[in-house]
């Protein structure tokens, strides 16, 4: 069937809904007629990039998603992994990039609210929030305002619901000037026999709406997230939702209270595309139909029409299917928590989503085709041209000045100004807070701990997408390993530019390929994720930013270590091979102003061998502090260990064969610095395991002393590291 246009549904209306004429023709084929406006609205959000993954699906399918510890992989509200003793961890990361650029406080706040709902919808009590933030250049006129708003929004929401924000990363680059990234991750805990899924079941079962009332906010949010920005994007402010963390807190408690019983058949939060996507997904997964009477939906404004009710992205709402006759006990719980509770429809055998309003049928769509015949594109792509493996980098005039500059640069500078605004210790299970490698949370009531981290190095991804994708996965694996925990699985947040441009699509394809190889080599599957494309303003794309959220498990939190130097006289050892790779390094960018060269190779076999060795040494009790070597190389890593432990270190003469700046600042992968009082045992074990290891020096004193560097007081390093962000935020525009 070709596209059928009517007086109501013109080509212009179709275009405003973000559908191409081919996609619209497909709607007409599925419907056997032209859709009405409400039906067109349903198609437009379900087939938006945000909900349908139409450009990315074909590539995402190549990622490994199974493993012995995976209970539920991608496709549900969040991923589920086995953490032993009948317990599971449930987690996901999700972007709220576009809304946060337009209205930073509410955009970021509702990003946190949305990801929390994805997790407690599955029956988990949320125990930790993390985030990954990317802002434009500090010199850009909007950056300060965006940082202030986003941080305050994340804190405002998370603090109020009482879930600690325990980790994250914040970086700056001009490519994000017009498109900041706000990725939020939530981790929750549930018993393995108490996980809730979203597939509808049981024709005749009641469909229940709970939570906040529906308003006109957020209409077309999913469509906005699926288009490029231009100078008129500010006008899209009304599509940003407004969050109410107090209602979310009540919703968490009410849902978990109801979930303690067995009244729920299926449950789904209303996130992007609201009531539309929740009802379509529940019906689609169950292979059934749903009939809704939209007159029963609790609304907070008068005169709302079906189109608005279906597309509203009002926050803090859930859709549930209950066992027949269980409505009264469920209603009692929601009444107790003073939340709306309304029976708005029933499950049917028709396979159709039928919407009624004031006695009339206002939409009738076949759910199967709406879901399975969603467009799927194999977009043309071009690989990123390779950059030279070696770059010529002259030695700096003054190593000490170089270290001082790096330690105070925006990407390395302490983010304390940010995390002081987050409640990190509510719930009483936070063992390691922001500032180390990974956050460490006790599993409440047990000795077990979860190590949690988010990470990505976009400057590597733009230089070599495949290597960058592998590195992002490997770095989270390394961060978790550095605490002593065993990495289990990841969630990914793929932030890219316009996929209709072959080079951008090539970045996506390359990053996925690298991630795939790393996940396979490290037995570290993907269990959930989110894709955010069209992160471009006026044709300027962001750096490719596949943020990885990793989760690991340690059986006894007493065995975990952190990055703080604490034993004077402890020997410092460097694990992993050092070749002095300076291409695409932080040093090259910050000191020489060059964004050049290939990123460091990621040898996944070495990564695994070195990491397994380090973890074993930690669990054997031989390690007093551990930090993975990342941005800025060995010297920055060591400075971070000294600063966090408020203890100095003295390095021995450097190994021959490398210039000092390459040894100190090169970013070769798969490396860790350990502090130990049992150096002989660790060195012996390394030799036996064929793990490259060298002795770096000794912890102690109050200066960082190294060949060519002189002695820099740790106190001075702390001052430099802590000063940048508060001073930047306090300055006038």
């Amino acid at each position: 069937m070709t596209a059928v246009y009517t007086k109501e549904i013109t080509a212009e209306i179709v275009a405003q809904h973000g559908l191409t004429s081919e996609e619209y023709a497909r709607c007409c084929t599925i419907m056997g007629r032209a859709p009405n406006l409400t039906e067109l609205g349903v198609f437009s959000v379900m087939w938006s990039e945000h909900c349908s993954y139409k450009s990315s699906k074909v590539h995402l399918k190549t990622l490994p998603i199974t493993g012995p510890k995976v209970i539920c992989g991608p496709g549900e509200n969040a991923g589920v992994i086995d953490i032993g003793d009948g317990q599971t961890a449930i987690f996901k990361i999700e972007s709220h990039n576009h809304p946060s650029f337009i209205e930073p406080y509410q955009g970021a706040a509702t990003g946190v609210g949305g990801i929390l709902r994805d997790v407690f919808t599955m029956g988990a009590r949320p125990i930790a929030n993390l985030n990954a933030l990317r802002f434009g250049s500090p010199d850009h006129a909007k950056t300060r305002h965006l940082v202030a708003g986003v941080v305050s929004g994340i804190g405002g929401y998370g603090n109020c619901v009482g879930v600690p924000t325990v980790g994250g990363e914040t970086e700056f680059h001009p490519s994000y000037n017009g498109n900041i990234l706000v990725n939020a991750m939530t981790v929750g805990l549930a018993d393995a026999d108490k996980i809730f899924y979203s597939a509808a079941a049981g024709p005749g079962n009641p469909v229940i709406y709970v939570g906040a009332k529906t308003g006109r906010d957020g209409i077309h949010g999913a469509t906005m997230a699926s288009a490029e920005f231009d100078q008129d994007s500010e006008a899209k402010r009304p599509t940003v939702q407004v969050g109410d963390p107090f209602t979310e807190k009540l919703l968490i408690e009410a849902c978990l209270e109801l979930m303690a019983g067995d009244a729920i058949v299926a449950i789904q939060d209303m996130g992007a595309a609201g009531l539309t996507s929740s009802s379509v997904e529940m019906a689609g997964k169950g292979g059934l139909g749903i009939e809704l009477d939209l007159s029963q939906v609790p609304v907070r404004e008068t005169g709302m029409v079906p189109y608005e009710i279906m597309l509203s992205e009002s926050q803090e709402r859930m859709l549930m299917i209950l066992k027949p006759g269980r409505e009264p006990e469920a209603k009692r719980i929601f009444d107790k928590w003073e939340l709306d509770f309304a029976v708005i429809g029933k499950v049917t055998e028709t396979g159709h989503l039928v919407l009624k309003f004031k006695g009339e049928t206002v939409a009738d769509l076949p759910v199967g085709p709406l879901v399975t015949q969603a467009p799927e594109y194999k977009r043309p792509w071009e690989p990123t041209p390779p950059r030279p493996e070696t770059v010529t980098v002259a030695a700096p005039a003054n190593l000490a000045a170089t270290l001082r500059k790096l330690i105070a640069c925006p990407d390395i500078a302490s983010k304390r100004w940010i995390w002081d605004q987050y409640d990190k210790t509510v719930m009483g299970d936070t063992i390691q807070q922001p500032g180390g490698d990974a956050a460490l949370m006790r599993v409440h009531g047990t000795k077990k701990g979860l190590a949690l981290v988010t990470d990505c190095t976009p400057r590597y991804c733009v230089a070599d997408p495949k290597r960058g994708g592998a590195q992002a996965v490997a770095e989270t694996w390394r961060n978790i390993t550095a605490t002593g925990a065993t990495p289990i699985a990841i969630t990914d947040n793929m932030n890219f530019g316009n996929p209709e441009k072959p080079l951008i699509m090539g970045q996506f394809v390359g990053c996925i390929e690298g991630m795939r190889e790393a996940c396979l080599a490290l037995d570290y599957p993907v269990v959930s994720g989110n894709v955010s494309l069209y992160n471009e303003t006026n044709g300027q794309a962001i750096l490719p930013t596949p943020v990885i959220g990793g989760v690991g498990l340690i059986d006894d939190v007493a065995k975990a270590v952190d990055t703080r130097l604490k034993g004077p006289g402890h020997v410092l050892l460097l694990v992993g091979a050092t070749k002095g790779h300076l291409g695409a390094s932080l040093y090259l960018r910050e000191i020489e102003g060059r964004e050049e060269g290939a990123p460091p190779p990621v040898d996944l076999a070495a990564e695994r061998r070195n990491g397994d060795f380090v973890r074993a040494q930690i669990l054997a009790g031989r390690v007093s502090a551990c930090h993975d070597v990342a941005d800025g190389g060995v010297l920055v890593t060591l400075a971070e260990m000294a600063m966090s432990g408020r203890m100095g270190a003295t390095l021995e003469p450097l190994p021959a064969g490398l210039p000092a700046h390459a040894f100190y600042f090169g970013e070769d992968q798969g490396r860790y610095i350990l502090a130990t009082s049992q150096a002989d045992a660790v060195l012996g074990a390394a030799a036996a395991a064929d793990v490259p290891i060298i002795r770096l020096g000794i912890a102690g004193g109050d200066t960082l002393t190294a060949p060519g560097l002189g002695a820099i007081p740790v106190r001075e390093l702390i001052g430099l590291n802590e000063a940048w962000l508060p001073e930047y935020m306090a300055a006038d525009d």
Partner: protein, 229 residues
């Protein structure tokens, strides 16, 4: 020893304090829903931290009007010990059980970090296991912790020994720099006239285990065992 923890809509440190109480007192507290109108027979009521009613209107203002607070006020007048932590302190001032008010932090931002507070007296059921002048490390987590009262009230509170804790530096000095939120006279914790009611902005329940950042909150709960059981 019997303890009750009141749960308001939006309380979020209720579980934390219940865990600390159970661990230190050896008995599980009773969790009391805000709609209850009477208190069971208990030795101590705790108003936990959090964002009761989302901090809408003013922190603690709506919770202070809830049915349970009428019962708490009546029993407090008869000498029942009431401990308000963070949001609980805000509720105590809104309910009139403690004088003054807790306003938006001087820096206007929510702050969560470890601060040092000085124990002003060990002569109370809450502080007998501390030394007077002892400096304790303890986290704060609030946006509205700037204690305010007029000068006459502050003078009276000082004269009657009602200041329980002050924000101080590591050496124990109540300096401007050590005052995280702008509180009048660095007040972090306050008693009523009989020292049976305590409002404390920091979170003692978060520092009762060395694995989670220290044990400086323990003596507060241990003092209560000594006094009440």
């Amino acid at each position: 020893m019997k303890t009750a923890v009141v749960v308001f809509p939006g309380s979020n440190c209720d579980r934390d304090v219940a865990v600390a109480v159970e661990e230190i007192f050896g008995t599980k507290p009773i969790m009391l829903w805000h709609r209850e109108t009477a208190l069971p027979k208990i030795d101590l009521v705790i108003l936990p931290g959090g964002f009761s009613y989302g901090d809408y209107l003013r922190s603690g203002a709506m919770a202070a009007q809830s049915p349970i607070m009428q019962a708490v006020k009546a029993k407090a007048a008869g000498g029942l010990p009431v401990l308000g932590i963070c949001n609980g302190f805000q509720i105590l001032t809104e309910a009139g059980l403690l004088p003054g008010a807790l306003m938006r932090n001087r820096g206007l931002k929510f702050i969560n970090r470890v601060v040092t507070t000085r124990v002003e007296t060990s002569q109370s059921i809450y502080t007998s296991r501390y030394e007077a002048g002892q400096v304790v490390s303890i986290p704060i987590a609030h946006a509205d912790g700037c204690y305010y009262a007029d000068n006459a009230t502050l003078d009276r509170l000082e004269a009657q020994g009602q200041v329980a804790f002050r924000y101080v530096d590591a050496a124990g000095n109540a300096t401007e720099a050590a005052n995280p939120n702008g509180s009048a006279r660095n007040i972090a914790g306050l008693f009523n006239e009989t020292k049976t009611v305590l409002g404390y902005m920091p979170h003692p329940e978060r520092v009762v285990d060395p694995l989670f950042g220290g044990t400086d909150g323990r003596p507060l709960f241990e003092s209560l065992i000594g006094a009440l059981s």
